[in-house]
Symmetry: C2
Subunit: 138 residues, 2 copies
DNA sequence: TTCATACTTGACTAAATTAGTCGGGAATTC
DNA sequence: GAATTCCCGACTAATTTAGTCAAGTATGAA
């Protein structure tokens, strides 16, 4: 049950962007340096973040990325989902009614894992980028 | 952020043991069949669970495993930790004061991940094997 | 114009982790 | 003594992760 670098770096970079980029485009090289993250990896991540509408890009000299939405309106849970770091606690297919294995009843532990997932989702739903920047965590 | 099979199978098997084994030893083959889990993998997991004091074993014919502690007294969080499925949300070393990278300050997102970890820990601390068996989840 | 900067994109890869398997052994009961 | 069941370590195949690399496009400044 560990958080990978995809989700972690994406959030770190977006927090950095919200924190240091005051409306002006911020180059990835700058973010990468400040957060000690590999630049080419970040490029990959920001490609997806742009496609999903979290950031907007400006090319060329003095270009960079800006937040496409208000920092108050971006929840951490959204970022993780967009970047491909889902909260997978249950093993069964959510869409189908069938549970862990074959049987169409849920396994004994289903409710437990579903509860854990809901707990995490709720927590990350309740925190915005702005909250992290201004250190309003719990 | 996904739950692996180690933790998942360990909990499934222990729940099965608490649910179907009424004090009497339950063979792993039976548990494995009922829960559709690979037997040899389960053996590996139960070796650790026995060493950590969660179950006791009886060898030979009609042997098997029994819970070494009351189902009410075994918390899910303990199982996950024992089996080697820790809740790793932060990246920094807990023991040392230094944060994500070199700097001895914590990174901007540290509190966020720590909060998430605490949330999960608290949830799993609050649920016992017995709770799962009797479907007392949330 | 020309150059430097910075985003864009897809393909590729090395390392780590996971999810097991396999084989032989030891204890216990019938 | 035969069947059953736990015991244990070593080994491996597959997957995932965490990146790298290379080539291209757009923009602004000198
Ligand atoms: S996790 Fe959903 S049925 Fe087992
Ligand atoms: S996660 Fe602890 S300092 Fe970054």
């Amino acid at each position: 049950m560990k958080l990978g670098t995809r989700g972690r770096y994406a959030v770190m970079a977006l927090v950095d962007l919200a924190y240091y980029g005051q409306g002006k485009p911020l180059a990835l090289t700058e973010i990468a340096q400040r957060q000690s993250l590999p630049l080419s990896y970040l490029e990959q991540l920001f490609l997806k973040l742009r496609q999903k509408g979290f950031v907007a890009s400006t090319r060329g000299h003095l270009g960079g990325y800006t937040l496409a939405r208000e920092a108050e309106a971006i929840r951490i849970s959204e970022i993780l989902e967009a970047i491909g770091e889902p909260l997978e606690t249950t093993r069964c297919d959510k869409s189908s009614a069938t549970g862990c294995l074959r049987t169409n009843a849920k396994c004994l532990t289903h409710a437990l894992w579903a509860g854990l997932g809901a707990q995490m989702q709720q927590y990350l739903d309740g925190i915005s980028l702005a909250d992290v920047c201004e250190r309003r965590i719990i």
